[in-house]
Structure formats: structure tokens, C-alpha cells
Chain length 330, copies 2
């Protein structure tokens, strides 16, 4: 899929909006060992500030455009930074919709310096049609009441906890930030719709019986724009264990006026019902509750209530970590 | 979307397998007025046999590669026929996965003769993300227990019946054959997965309150490869009325060993449950039962049983037509 060379120099752009550097923040949070420094912006992730040449001298291999925006375009204002990185001999990794290779001066410079351009939302090779055939190994999938509720953070927290206990486990990325963190993955929302389930089968293939794939989820069966992606993921994953991710205090589906966040019980039951088409043994393993909006005080109470109601562990990955859940996982 | 000039000359290829000309057969069956003749093959659709030059003289405007195969490739053996059609001044329409414009001699010939190449699985312009916002007009969607159970035929039979009664109605195509029949549409299985629901919103936009869109369905919520497409379609359609399509006698999901055809009641309830996310008033309007495998004798009995069980009309569009259903539609 990809072959991103590490370590990274994280490019933070030139904007003041901290949301713009969400992708870089995710990488720095979950793979600090891969991040040699940061570049650009008055914002900071508290990494050493290096220009591309300094970073290259320190051993950096890839300049990561860890930025998000609503248009998905590579801002003209970033091009001098990207060219400087190419000039320093760094590969470039880009998770935005627009392709690096479609910008002529970048393409020409990269060819001249013989560095690689990684457009991670566009490179996934030939994908198969889903087969639905049962495969070996264990799989866990993050599902959610909506988009952007913390499915990637939950998956990474679970992976970290499992690794610390010497489980044989891989995080499987399905979105741009996850892919830049893992160095590989399939950007599932960019796949042609006929291949969604097949792409997930390809992403987390048959494995040995003790091995776990912890799969980043996308969207929600209750999001009117993206539910098709979520269902293809659910079917392709053949998950043994679902983790339901929710943001406490969110009442409306993101960017969809008139759409309420689904009832938790309905959302769990619907996900289990659909998951069981390809894995009749699918079960709810935990609830991951993002308590960003309500704070740590309420988090314990809310998690306790959900544990009572659904008889599974409930945790905020950033407050409690996933330890209580992994204690019970066999 | 497209602008296919009619009438058509239907190209039947050179194979003996009648399944290979399924697309042409569909066009000839539903739009005989668009079909000036047929070309190639020992197989026949009982249309006049013309070579491209004769057809052009009779007024044909587009040479339709109405063929299906498992690889989705344009066979090398067809290229002389395609070049002859171009030479006769006909546009070429192709519903296969491989693009005409990727075959150099075809592209060069088309440029020289100034004829258009329509790769209908690849041309749909920029699509929006789904909004889920309620829109005016009435919509009916074909859903199914599986792929290839007769969703397109059902939609076309319903459209024909509604037209004969002077309903204000449009057939909305979502697959290659449907698009060649309608002359427009969106090949939904070729759309990037983030845009499935948005593509359907775009395909059947807000309309006046008396207008019906009758939308061709794809796949099934119970098909492990394609359910994501089906769910995006269901959400984007905001259908007021679902028609459940099933093939009597089919017991296994097509090409998916180990997957049984779902229970009809479960399939109906699951489709209604999911449809009601974007249209809380969605209801089952009818069951369309393809009785090809069981014959006309059993068809009446099976339809009667399903009518009793589900309290909606049940019909085989090729045996009974859709009249009984449309009698009850308001």
C-alpha cells in the first residue's frame, strides 16, 4: 500500500486555527517516536522546530502535510514549504484530497530530486470485491453513533494497551490520519463503492488465531451521508468484537441539521444485527465514551451508567485508557 | 450526466452465450423504439441486422456495446466492429468497466471522425456529499433480497404502468443497463464511497409534489460484498415507497457460498428500519417476485401467499405486470 519512510517532519502550515493541525496532532500524540520535529506555523505540538534541511540532517525522511481543511486542497501558501522539503531530499506525504502529483512544480521538483510523493487518499492499488468468506484471526472494529467521535483514538488506545500486554496486535487504518500514523492502510472513503467490503477484507486478511486486528472505523450507520461506508466496513471486517464510540453531550449528527444522535441501545443493536451477516459471533466488547465536552468529573458517572445498562466496560480512552476493557478481553 | 444520441445500433459481440447480451436484451425489451437494429453475433434479439454503415444510413446515432462479461474488459475481438462503427460516424456507448478512451486506436479513430465515446460507468462529473435534507416530490426505490433478482425490470415495469396512467414519473437508472435504457443516470457502484448517498440525492433531486422518481436499486443489505452500496442508495433515495424484489426459488446469495437468501420478513423490516433514517414515512408498497425459476404455474400461488403475509400487492413484472400495484398507489 504505502511505504512511508520515517522519521517524519510534521508540517503545521501557517494558520492560527488549532483544528487545522488535527492530523499532525494525532501523529505526534500516538507516534511521538516517529516525529523528529515540526515546521511552520505559530502553533506548536511541542516538538523541536526544524526547517527541512535541519530535519534532514537529524535523520528525517518524510515531510508530512498533517493538515486538514474543508476544501481538501493543498494551499498555495504551503508550496514554498513543500518545495523546500523536496529540496532537502525529504519524501512528501499528503492526506488531503488534492494530489501532490497534480501540482506541476511539486511533481517536477520531486522528479528532479528523486523523492517520493505519497498521496495517501489516492494510492491503494487494485482492490478485490468482498467475498464474505470466513477468515481466521480475531478482529475488533470501532463503530460509532456519528463521525468524529473518537474511533481512531479508541482504536489506538486499545492497540497500545494490548501491545503493552504482549498481545499479537495490529492497528488497521482506514482514514488519512490513521494511515500516516500506521504508515499503511486503506482510505476507505476514497474507495469505489463496489469495493468497500473487499477493501476491508484486503486490509485485515486472514491471520493466525491468536492475532488481533484493531480496525479504525468510519462514519456511522446513522449518518445519512456516510452510512454506506460504515456498513461496508462492518461487513468486510467480520469483527468478533465491536467497540461503540460516542461523544458524551453531542446531540446532533455532525453537519446534518435535523438528525439526532441515535439512541445508544438502537445503535448497538443495529450494528450487531448488521455485523452478524458476516460474523454471527459478533459481540459488543466495550463502549468508548469521548468526554471532551463534559469533562472528567462527569465522565466517571456517565461511564458507570453505560456499564450498568449494557454490561460491558465503558471508558474514555484519554481519561481512563483501555485497560479495564483489555482486562476482560480474551 | 450523459447525452446519448438515439436511435441505437445494438452490438451483440461474437459469443454464443446468451447471458453475454443481457444488456442489449434489456435495452431492446424496454426501449424497442430506440433500437434501429442489431450487429454481430449469431445470437439475435429479432431486430433487423445492419452493419454500422447501413444503420447510420437508417438514422442510427450510437453504437451500443450492450455486452457483459466477468472481466469487465473490452474484448480485442470487438475492436474491428467498434472501429467500423466509428468509421460510419456513430458515437460509441460502453457500459463495461474498461474505458473506450483507454484503447489508443479507438481514441485516435474517434478523434479523427469527431464521434463521442461514452464510458457510462466512468462519467458522472463532480458529486456532492449527501445532506439528508428532506426534499419534495415522491420517490420509490427497488430493494432486494440479493443482486440480480429483477430490480431494474421491476422499476421499468412500474414506470411503464405509471406512464400509461399519466402519472408524472421518471425512471432513475443506477446501473449500466439502466443508464443505456434511460440515456442518463449514475452508475452508483462506480462512485467513490463517500458520495454514494449524495450521488443518489443528485440523481433524483427535489421535484414537485405530484412527481414520482422510480429508482433502480442495486445489491442488497444482505449481500456481504455490496450492502454498503445498497444502504447509501436507501439513504440517498429518501424513498416514500419501497418495492422488495426477490427471485422465487433462489436459496443462496449469488456467488457467495454459505450465504443464504435472507428471510423475507427480516429483509423487509431491515430495509424499512434503515430507510426511515432519512424518510420516517417510508413504507413497503409491493413485492416484486421474479418467477423465472419456478414458472407461471407457481407464480400465482407464491404471489398470493406473500400478499397474505405482508398485506401488499405481489406481482411478477413479466407475468402479471405492475397494474395491481399501481391501482393502489396514490
Amino acid at each position: 500500500m504505502f511505504d512511508l519512510k520515517t522519521p517524519y517532519l510534521l508540517f503545521l502550515g501557517h494558520e492560527a486555527n488549532p483544528l487545522a493541525i488535527k492530523t499532525s496532532r494525532g501523529i505526534a500524540q500516538w507516534r511521538p517516536d516517529l516525529c523528529i520535529g515540526e515546521n511552520g506555523s505559530q502553533l506548536t505540538l511541542d516538538l523541536p522546530k526544524f526547517n527541512p534541511r535541519e530535519a534532514a540532517e537529524k535523520g528525517a525522511r518524510t515531510f508530512v502535510i498533517g493538515l486538514t481543511n474543508t476544501t481538501g486542497e493543498i494551499s498555495k501558501g504551503w508550496i514554498p514549504d513543500i518545495l523546500a522539503a523536496i529540496d532537502a531530499g525529504l519524501d512528501i506525504a499528503n492526506g488531503l484530497h488534492q494530489r501532490l502529483r497534480d501540482i506541476k512544480e511539486i511533481r517536477v521538483a520531486a522528479e528532479r530530486k528523486n523523492v517520493r510523493l505519497h498521496d495517501v487518499r489516492h494510492q491503494f492499488g487494485e482492490l478485490p470485491i468482498g467475498t464474505g468468506q470466513k477468515r481466521s484471526g480475531k478482529r475488533m472494529l470501532m463503530v460509532g453513533t456519528d463521525c468524529s467521535v473518537g474511533k481512531m483514538y479508541s482504536a489506538l488506545a486499545v492497540e497500545r494497551e494490548m501491545k503493552s500486554r504482549e498481545f499479537n496486535v495490529d492497528f488497521r487504518a482506514t482514514g488519512q490520519t490513521g494511515i500516516l500514523i500506521a504508515g499503511e492502510g486503506v482510505p476507505i472513503d476514497a474507495v469505489v463503492s463496489d469495493y468497500i467490503a473487499g477493501a476491508v477484507e484486503h486490509l485485515c486478511p486472514a491471520s493466525n488465531d491468536a492475532h488481533w486486528d484493531v480496525i479504525e472505523g468510519q462514519g456511522s450507520l446513522f449518518n445519512p451521508a456516510y452510512a454506506g461506508v460504515s456498513l461496508g466496513l462492518l461487513h468486510g471486517a467480520q469483527a468478533d468484537v465491536l467497540v461503540m464510540c460516542h461523544e458524551a453531550g453531542r446531540e446532533q449528527i455532525k453537519d446534518k441539521p435535523g438528525y439526532a444522535i441515535p439512541d445508544m441501545q438502537d445503535c448497538i443493536e443495529t450494528n450487531l444485527k448488521m455485523a452478524r451477516l458476516t460474523n454471527p459471533e459478533a459481540r459488543l466488547g466495550a463502549i468508548s465514551l469521548n468526554c471532551r465536552l463534559v469533562g472528567a468529573d462527569q465522565a466517571n458517572r456517565l461511564c458507570h451508567e453505560l456499564e450498568e445498562q449494557f454490561s460491558v466496560p465503558c471508558f474514555d480512552p484519554m481519561i481512563h485508557g483501555a485497560g479495564g476493557f483489555i482486562d476482560l478481553l480474551s
